[in-house]
Symmetry: D2
Subunit: 366 residues, 4 copies
């Protein structure tokens, strides 16, 4: 069982259900001496917070984080950092209906099969609120990376089939529209499309791209703990994600070796690559280029339109999933992608410190 | 560091370099009482063995496996199963040139950056021979799955842009052509295309599809250890893999919720799904449908055509990677995909036994 | 780093400092369907609570536990169980002096060496309050064991050199005296001795014994994850513990094989042992006899008597550790020993379910 | 299950049965650039090798190690180091009798209970030969420690009740007698005693002490991964070990806080301790003093004297365990204690590199 634990060195354990007392996370293995305040974490939580527009769940959620341990006088102490967000609304009366059938595209059926029953209120553990723990821990991981000069940025590359135009790419636009798109024109088109889908009681999916800049070489371990393998797991562990690709990804399967290989050359006295089809990893180890990957996000499964399903009595029924649902998951998932990428990187960066005997000896000689 | 260990319950540690004494694997956590002979393992190793055609490395490799421990009177004993394949050819003289520069698309550069130096003979640890340990362990995992009635089958879905036609799909054809394609016509087209690419000193990639049949519900743990997240890591850990998708994968990002949701209905008294866009997992837990996923494999990076690169002295040079290389990786990777999928499944199937208190109590009451 | 995580299947992560916001624990991997209320946990926390007598810290601590997740309608759901106890007193003003020097016998110096600084308020993470997380998680593990009919009982076997008399052994007495001794006469003697030591500004140690009854055979894994090895780690991880022995322990080193071997015989159709010098394990695996082990607990290091030490400015100084301190740790550690034993057992009991292929097949065939 | 894996950063997996093809170990996570030859490993294996005297098993065992991977041009490469020792004698005919009953003091019964059957030849996996993998891996860990200036030395402190006299302590004597005792007079007394016990068909136990010198401060993680907790598990995982204590151990339970606390003082500008009752750890973290611990080893369970037991048909029988057996385990276990201590230390030394953000930043800035 288990499964709510992630990372070996910088290890996190998340907890919480949609309509329980709250959601949270504990980090075991954050190094001492990192500046950290609740604002650092709150900033990230606000980015994933719904309610900014008609296209994300409008109910008010005040996701205020409390740091419960592991920080003293503004710095991490090296001991576990526990963080919690209380759930504000715990109305359980609303869920009598949902408890009796399996929503298509949701984990209701599989939770019942695995555990014998489930906390059906608001999706329980498989609710989107589960990501709060990831994002809070990710905020700490991002501070760690920033201390080393590494930047992690994700954004919506495509929503409902409408993609950004890299000619118009402007990262500053990303947080100015409701779709986390770094292209305001594309965002406008998505808006129009989304309004139509909502009217149909339907929903849309999309693709998130993430770029990691200024990463050192050597991160990632050969064979099973390759950096890209770690990122793939991290991404597929996010609720609605159905695919992952690094560098040219699936396109690499359709070109020749000549076209796909990145040639090396000397640049300012250092080894560099002329292209980056590989997306920043060779043999699972960072090569110093930007790490670029994409994830496919399915459309929101909760839709107003009528669908067939079965109830717990074993009858075929028709349902319409009521309540206010985001017609798309992508905009809120962008910050989760950044968080999971950061957690994966930090783990492998710490792990890499033990790769060479001479560096270990130097570390301890000082 | 580390990184050559995979799995928590059914845990494996692989070892070995292309031109060292041998390659191998130890399994810690295989249950006692599973029938196992060297033939079971050899069968899988033969499937990954090159030399069957002009399109896979023609040098003779006799990859004979020896089971060194953990099996007594034809059955596993519950203690570690060590398996080894001796390397037959250990000519180190050939590699003086390759030791001095970084092959594009290979891990030469990143190994040097991480470890300070590398065993450059035949690619060392990042050679394709590294997969022998995976396949040997995977053979044992597949026997485990077969005991439970679960089937795992991978095949080439597309090579060099030429895809199979599902109208012609015939799994019996898969092992009868040099491309692991379940469509003999597509295989013929690939053959023609490959001959042309080889003449150009170039190489091609492709897409492998894997189908897991007859899996019980409940396998996979919510949040970070989702079944699909585990499969994604397993697949991206394979040398040349650049992408992973489950069910409709990236296509799911472009359809609506209505189209993507799999509706439930009652079938023979059991909950079933009308479609399988999800690829057999809901919320990261198996739903009883077939598990279907695909991986993108890049073209072989070793090509005869001239490429720019740098040498260890920091000079820009031009190289042509000599030696006999497969013009494609896909056919040999098919069996590695099956092995890694099996290892991932077995681990989660054992883990799932602890999911319910009542089942634990029943287990021990007998 | 890390280190606040324990267990592989039934895994816990504890957090919290003596004078931070609170202390707590999250359990990842508790099976679904176990009856659990806050009372179950509170009962154990009350047992470790000081204030019952003059011999344990008299300050009032209301350690009220809140279960934040993982329980629905009175049963565990299989998802993480987060539990928290708020700290009532967070006066940081008292600790200005203690922040400047290293208390002998405490971890002040080693925390500074490892992390560069420390949360010095009340001992921070190395305070006895750290054990609240262990005890809360242990309460859940004990419910798990009770469901299987397994009993875990620890008690003070010896305090300040005064041992219990097994002729007077009465487990009902254990919770009726301030020393957790199952012998009221011995408890009286300890009381007299303790009063004298307190007057001297000194402290005393002791030995805790733990007996696990009705355990099934087969628990524990050969080689590194032996049941007794797990218990040894669990016990030495408790603050003031300096030694561990199972069965006859150190005495076994001084007798002959003839005297130490436990002979087998048939009893009611089952294999039984005439003696239990081994303490219930053979080759690290439970043999069905009671598991019996002992731990050595050092005297409380915080004493009023003057001691030499150094301050952060590198000066030799003399200190007397003020505040109200327990003159002995043993009585409060008894419940921690039970908790850690339970956590260790549950982990190995779940792990053992994967030991035989036939049992796995049976499990899934039903 | 599992259980043959040890260590998180410097992780080992051992394998092999007494009468199978061989025994061995793979190390995953040894840093690159450590000088290593087969001689380094063979030296340690020879120290554990029986046959030097009448008091250890006289059968000739040529335990020649082969390093199969992970070393290139005399240095570790950072990839897994596989090592193997072939078993010379695999006579399975001798064991027909032993297969039918449970030897007292052995794991025959518990293996059958756990796994349903066992490889009964020579004790199978629970044979003393299992320690070869530990010692081979330990030899590599000891080279790692030596590179950092750390020394690990174990020796017999007491055998059959006869202890060494610290006045006569001479480490050079340790390897000159058959008992690994650093006191030649005590060794003589043990010899006389052992001859008598052998004549009686009986056996004796003893106590091993281990001293770790020149260790840096900061090694070990608070709470569950304390250095002493790790050592305790490591030691109890060794076959016949029944107890562990660090520093004053069980004696600390019988003295007062005043007597047990180690006072700090300034020595040559550094913080030092006047005494070392703690045995080199405070709060589970190394304090820079020598680490001193002891383990209790039970007498050899295989004895010629008649004992009661049961056979697989459920009959009470009398047996005399034939074959040549060491009348004591202690001398051969000394090197296993060193190996396990070294493995535990290396793991925590690597782990400690991630304890401070500033040191991580410095590490990567260079």
């Amino acid at each position: 069982m288990a499964g709510s634990t992630y990372g070996k060195q910088f290890s996190i354990m998340t907890w919480g259900e949609s309509h329980g007392a709250g959601v949270g996370v504990t980090i075991d293995g954050c190094p001492a001496g990192l500046d950290l305040t609740e604002n650092d974490v709150q900033y990230m939580l606000n980015r994933r917070k719904p309610g900014q527009s008609a296209f994300t769940t409008p109910r008010k959620e005040d996701d205020e984080v409390e740091i419960l341990s592991g920080v003293f006088e503004g710095k991490t102490t090296g001991t576990p950092i526990a963080m919690m967000v209380r759930n504000k609304t715990q109305r359980s009366g609303d869920y009598s209906e949902i408890s009796q059938y399996y929503r298509p595209g949701h984990a209701d059926f599989t939770f019942d099969e695995k555990y014998g029953f489930r906390d059906y209120r608001g999706g329980g553990r498989s609710s989107g609120r589960e990501t709060i723990g990831r994002v809070a821990a990710g905020a700490v991981a991002l501070k760690f990376l920033r201390r080393l000069g590494i930047k992690v940025n994700a954004y919506a590359k495509e929503i409902g089939g409408i993609g950004i135009d890299y000619q118009n790419f402007d990262m500053n636009q990303r947080d100015k529209n409701a779709f986390s798109m770094p292209d305001s024109e594309a965002a406008e088109k998505v808006k129009a499309s989304a309004i139509k889908k909502m009217a149909d009681g339907d929903s849309i999916g999309g693709i998130i791209e993430c770029v990691i800049e200024n990463i050192m070489t050597g991160v990632g371990d050969p064979v099973f703990d390759k950096l890209d393998a770690g990122l793939a797991k991290a991404m597929l562990s996010i609720g609605a994600v159905k695919g992952f690709e690094i560098g040219d990804g699936f396109e690499a399967a359709r070109v020749t070796g000549k076209a796909n290989n990145d040639e090396f050359f000397m640049k300012d006295g250092k080894v560099a690559k002329r292209t980056n089809h590989a997306g920043g990893v060779l043999g699972g180890i960072s090569d110093g280029s930007d790490i670029i990957f994409r994830v496919a996000v399915k459309p929101t499964p909760s839709i107003l339109a009528k669908q067939e399903t079965v109830n717990k009595a074993g009858k075929n029924i028709e349902v319409s999933v009521k309540g206010r649902h985001d017609p798309m998951i992508v905009p809120r998932a962008v910050v989760v992608v950044e968080a999971m990428a950061a957690l994966t990187l930090v783990d492998l960066i710490i792990s890499n410190m033990g790769a060479r005997m001479e560096k270990i000896a130097e570390f301890y000689e000082r």
